[in-house]
Symmetry: C2
Subunit: 210 residues, 2 copies
DNA sequence: CTTCACCTTGACCATACGGTCAGGAAAAGA
DNA sequence: TCTTTTCCTGACCGTATGGTCAAGGTGAAG
């Protein structure tokens, strides 16, 4: 860090180090889980002494909480495309694209999120009960409208949303399994495109939107 | 354990205690992850002293390995319905039913499996590369045959399989999230049925099998 | 230059964890 | 009955972990 000679300003130091730590923490938490992650490992990966981590983040849980919150932001943001779309084909298509892109670009974030939820969401239960619940209810209403307008089959909106989450996040959370089945190589650009198209095609046709 | 007075025979003792420990271990590993789980916690949940765990399972990793292997057995067994079915509708329908039932009856097992894969499959990598790869290749060939016979759309068999895994396992791995969005209550019998039918309907229609 | 607030870090601490072991209890076999 | 094998467990050990702290370094403000 700070390879060039220019001394860093205060704000830069703080911002840069926090980002560095959060990045390293996301990786380590994703690879080892909360319990398996150690502050020492995160510190090594960030290239800082362990004590410095505790200067910026008081406890391991604080650090973890920040990591999870960051992911939740990204996660929610992906849903914007859902709102400004004229109909189910565009909305769901764009949503799948966005979430697949997240799975590809932020696989570690997705894993941390999955791990957190799997362990009973000890840290972000309140988010689930407020923000996520509201978001889900709103999108379910949107879907119901499309159904009422005859633009898609009468499917259960909740289960459709679960299906969208499941299929897209699977490519991040189970990326290692997919990679192994792909002969040990990560999916290529072409394969990612095929995955996206597969998911979109099957779901959109499955709900009678195309 | 051994509530009635009858003394247990050797074989019974061993079998009973191993089962007790494996059951407790599955729960704890699912709730806390490998790193977060402690032998003490597993021992408490099994109602045995910690030293007794190490009598039956030498190390924490041995115990974990056994838990994961048990799950893999169940997982693979669910695939039997795939083989003896006359066509895609029956095969995929039965497979979804079976996997949804596993998600409902063995949510902890599914979580441990997911956790293991998410962390790079340190313990069961060889299974992925042998048994699972073979299984997947065989099923993909089956699907390709159905496509060639014009019994379903020309979809990518691998991505279809991923979709089946993702959607069904989601109900176990993200069960807590679903429960929260369901007002804090577990899915009822009716809701589980609706979930199954939703998944089957969308996928089967989505691949042009119905 | 001086002062002050912020940043850095090696050394340290208490605790909790995985694992060991010796010695006793209980069942199986003779 | 006596012997052998298996099972049980409290007490213990070395280590690794999350977290603390005091002392020193460094950019900003006057």
């Amino acid at each position: 860090m700070n390879e060039n000679a220019r001394p860093l300003r205060r704000n830069e130091i703080r911002a840069q180090n926090e980002a560095l730590i959060l990045q390293a923490a996301e990786t380590v938490f994703a690879e080892a889980g909360f319990g398996g992650a150690t502050m020492q490992l995160i510190a090594d990966m960030a290239g800082l002494p362990k004590a410095n981590l505790h200067y910026y983040f008081a406890t391991k849980e604080d650090l973890y909480r920040r990591v999870v919150q960051n992911i939740f932001e990204i996660w929610l943001h992906a849903a914007d495309c859902f709102d400004n779309a004229p109909g189910p084909v565009e909305a769901i298509g764009a949503y799948v694209d966005a979430k697949m892109e997240i799975s590809r670009r932020h696989p570690n974030g997705s894993k941390v999120w999955a791990s957190e939820v799997m362990h009973g969401a000890p840290v972000i239960q309140d988010y689930l009960e407020s923000t996520l619940r509201d978001w889900t209810a709103g999108r379910a209403r949107l879907i119901q409208n499309w159904i009422d307008e005859g633009r898609m089959d009468p499917v259960n909106p909740d289960h459709l949303l679960y299906m969208l989450w499941a299929t897209t996040q699977h490519y991040a959370d189970f990326g290692h399994q997919i990679e192994t089945l792909n002969g040990g190589a990560p999916l290529s650009d072409v394969q990612w495109l095929a995955a996206k198209e597969s998911v979109k095609r099957i779901i959109l046709k499955g709900i009678g939107a195309i």
